[in-house]
């Protein structure tokens, strides 16, 4: 899995590409855990390059949300396509996350938190 990472206004933006499923979610999990260990707790995950996400990917996002809350960090998601949004909705995940349409708006939310 390809994972792009940038920094903007004190926020780390992580943009995975392709599918987030049983075989690729471990790489995303490792990447996000690495950020936490490095003390980066202000994070945006940009889904605009994601084809679809399965429950293995939801597990990774839930773990990230829990870690972020524990350390009083800030997290926002951006760029959810219809497919990704539907899976979040079916899982009851939409209320658990700050979700913005665009990366810019998500960075704004985290930077202001």
């Amino acid at each position: 899995m390809q994972i792009d990472e940038r920094r903007e206004r004190g926020v780390v933006v992580v943009a995975p590409a392709g599918r987030i499923d049983s075989t690729t979610s471990a790489a995303l999990d490792a990447h996000l855990q690495g950020l936490g260990k490095a003390g980066d707790h202000r994070v945006v995950v940009d889904f605009s390059g994601v084809d679809y996400i399965s429950s293995a990917g939801l597990r990774v996002m839930l773990a990230l949300a829990k870690r972020t809350k524990e350390v009083r960090g800030a997290l926002a998601l951006a760029g959810l396509g219809d497919s990704v949004r539907q899976v979040f909705q079916l899982a009851g995940f939409l209320p658990l996350f700050t979700i913005e349409a665009t990366r810019e708006a998500a960075i704004g939310r985290v930077a202001a938190a």
Binding site: R19, D21, S22, T23, D51, Y52, I53, S54, S55, A56, L58, R59, L62, A65, K66, K69, D82, S83, Q86, V87, L90, A91, G92, L96
Partner: protein, 138 residues
């Protein structure tokens, strides 16, 4: 009309990845709409992960995956040699708990049911057979 995929893969994460790649390539070639392609690949990942992690749980066995355009629909078939497991009877998870209390057991199966138009289960010849159908836009 000759548009069918049939792959047999080992019941492992590598086999899972191989089946998903094959189903993805077939769906694109057969012109399955992206919306349906994403749903069926998500469902396939959930079903196979369940078989590999819980059904086979380390024991060996092969999984057969079939996919075909069938008139106005797309039909996905998965057969595995694990113990009897009917996902249609599995309990659904609580999707309303707050962050701290959220447990994800059973979520994959719930997604399989919600993302497909029809699901059928059959136990035959010592194997589980799941058939999922998506109707294409009318």
């Amino acid at each position: 009309m000759g548009e069918a995929l049939s792959v047999t893969v080992p019941g492992s994460l590598d086999g899972l990845a191989e089946a998903v790649r094959a189903a993805d390539a077939f769906s694109r070639k057969a012109g399955v709409p992206d919306e349906v392609r994403r749903k069926l690949l998500t469902a396939l990942d959930e079903i196979l992960a369940n078989v590999v992690h819980h059904g086979l749980a380390g024991s060996s066995g092969t999984i057969e995956v079939t996919l075909r355009r069938d008139g106005p629909g797309v039909v996905l078939g998965v057969s595995d040699p694990a113990g009897p497991f009917n996902p249609l009877l599995a309990p659904l998870p609580d999707t309303s708990a707050p962050l701290e209390g959220r447990r994800l057991g059973g979520l994959g199966i719930a997604l399989v049911r919600a993302l497909s138009d029809e699901v059928a289960y059959e136990r035959k010849d010592g194997r589980n057979h799941l058939t999922l159908t998506w109707r294409l836009g009318s």
